[in-house]
Symmetry: C2
Subunit: 236 residues, 2 copies
DNA sequence: ATGCGCCCCCGACTATGGTCGGAGGCGCAT
DNA sequence: ATGCGCCTCCGACCATAGTCGGGGGCGCAT
C-alpha cells in the first residue's frame, strides 16, 4: 500500500531540500498546536505554517490561500466534527496534499480507517519529536507512515470498506449525501444547490453505486456508521 | 407527573401486602443481579424472582411465562442492546408492568429519557439498599421514583421528545420501523411480516405521523438518535 | 347490545425516488 | 489535435414510497 506515482521536479533527488510550500496544522489544543508548528519549522522544508483550531477554520484557510498546502497535520476529536468525517472533508478540499493524522486514540481500527480515508500517515499524540520528524520525512518521500505496533490486518473489515467507499465520493456527491443525511428530499436538495431534480437523482444513483447500497436509506446508514466509528464506552 | 389511575382490589389498602406476582431482574453483572434479587425477596412482596443477563433472555422469559410480572428491574448498558432502546422494547412487551431503571450513568438527560420512554423509576446503581426499597415501594403505590438531585427540567428537549414519540409506537409499528432502520424496502418488509405492501405503507405513514417527520429517511434519523443518546467521550 | 376508540389490514391513487441514456466541459496523455 | 476518462448536468421512463378512504376485529364503557 505504498504510493509510487509521486511526481517531483528533477531538481529534487529524494526529499525536497527546502520550501516545498506551506503547511497547515489543525488542532484545538493551543499548546500542542504550537509544538507541532515549531517541529515543522525546524525542518525548514516549509515556507510558512498556518494553524486552525477547528475544521471550519481549516477549510476557510484552504479557501483563502491561492495554493494548496504541501502538508496537513490533523487532530481527530475536533470540536466541530467527530470521527473520520473531518478527515474525509479535508481530504476532499485538498485532494493532492498528504494529511498526517495526529491523535491520542491509537486504536488499530481507527488507524486503519484513517488510512482507508486517504490519510498519508498516523502519529500517536504522545510521540517524541523525532518520531514526528520521521513521519514527515517519510511522507515527503511519498510513503505511508504508520506507527510501530500497527498491524496491517485483513482488509475485509466491513467498516473500513465503508470508509474507503465514502472517501471515494466526489465533492458534489458528498454534499448531496450530507443533505440526504439531514432528511431532505431530492427536490429540496435541488433547490439548495440550484440544480435540476433530475441531476440530484443522477448523483444519488452514483452515490448508491459507490457505497454499494440500493436505497437512500441504506446510504444514510453507511454514512452514520463512519461518524460513530468509536467503540462505545462500556460501563457497568 | 404522577399516575392516579391505579387500579387495585379493595382488599389492598395502599401497598400490596404480599405476593402481588413475580418480578424480573435484567442485569449482565451476576453479583449485582443476585444482590437485587435478594433485595426484592427481602420485601416479601413477590412470589418469585427471575433473572436475565441480556435483553433477549428477558424477552424470552416474558414469553415463557403465562402472566405478566408485577415489576421489572432493568440495567442500561446491556450487552445486546444500547441506550433506551432496550427499555422501549421491554416496555412494549409488558406494557402494564412498571419498570425501574438501574444504571451507573446518572446523567440528567438519561433519566429524563428513561422517564419519557415509560419507565416508572430510576435508581443509581451505587445506591444503598434502602434506597432501592424506597423506590420499589413508591412504584408499588403507583408513583414515579426519581433520585434526589434530579431536576424536572423543561420538557422541550428535542431528544426527550423524540424518545417519548418513539415509545408511543405500536408493536407492529415498532417492528416495521426496526426493519426500515435495516434499510429494507416496503416490499421486503411486507414479505417478512407476511402482510400486503399496502399495509406496510399504511403503517409507515402513521409511524411518520407519530414521529412528526415527512419521510422514512427522517424516521430512521430519529430512531438512531435515541440509540446514540450518550455524550460521546471527549478526548484530546 | 350498542357505540366508541384503537389496531391491523387492504386497494387505488399521487408524489417521490431511482435508472437509463446522453449532452457538454475539463484535464491529460499521445 | 485527437482521443480518453471523469465530472456535472439534464429529460424521459419505471419502481418505490406515501396518502386517502374504508373494512373488520377487539376491548371497554355505558
Amino acid at each position: 500500500m505504498v504510493m509510487e506515482t509521486e511526481k517531483m521536479t528533477d531538481t529534487a533527488p529524494t526529499v525536497m531540500p527546502q520550501s516545498s510550500g506551506w503547511a497547515l496544522v489543525v488542532d484545538d489544543h493551543p499548546l500542542f498546536c504550537d509544538a507541532l508548528e515549531l517541529t515543522l519549522k525546524s525542518l525548514q522544508n516549509f515556507s510558512e505554517v498556518q494553524t486552525a483550531d477547528c475544521l471550519e477554520a481549516a477549510l476557510a484557510k484552504l479557501d483563502a490561500s491561492n495554493s494548496a498546502p504541501a502538508l496537513i497535520l490533523l487532530d481527530l476529536n475536533l470540536p466541530d466534527v467527530n470521527g473520520l468525517d473531518g478527515l474525509i472533508r479535508l481530504k476532499r478540499s485538498a485532494s493532492k496534499t498528504p494529511i498526517i493524522i495526529v491523535s491520542s486514540m491509537t486504536d488499530n481500527n481507527i488507524i486503519k480507517g484513517a488510512i482507508a480515508a486517504g490519510s498519508s500517515g498516523f502519529v500517536p499524540k504522545h510521540s517524541a519529536r523525532n518520531v514526528f520528524r520521521d513521519a514527515i520525512e517519510q511522507i515527503g518521500a511519498g510513503n505511508i507512515y504508520t506507527p510501530q505496533g500497527f498491524v496491517e490486518g485483513q482488509e475485509d473489515d466491513e467498516e473500513t470498506l465503508a470508509i474507503a467507499r465514502l472517501s471515494s465520493l466526489t465533492n458534489q456527491q458528498a454534499r448531496i449525501l450530507e443533505l440526504i443525511c439531514e432528511g431532505k428530499l431530492n427536490k429540496q436538495i435541488a433547490y439548495d444547490l440550484s440544480i435540476a431534480e433530475a441531476t440530484v437523482k443522477a448523483h444519488v444513483t452514483s452515490i448508491m453505486r459507490k457505497l454499494n447500497v440500493q436505497s437512500r436509506t441504506q446510504a444514510v446508514l453507511v454514512a452514520q456508521e463512519a461518524k460513530f466509528s468509536k467503540p462505545l464506552p462500556k460501563e457497568t
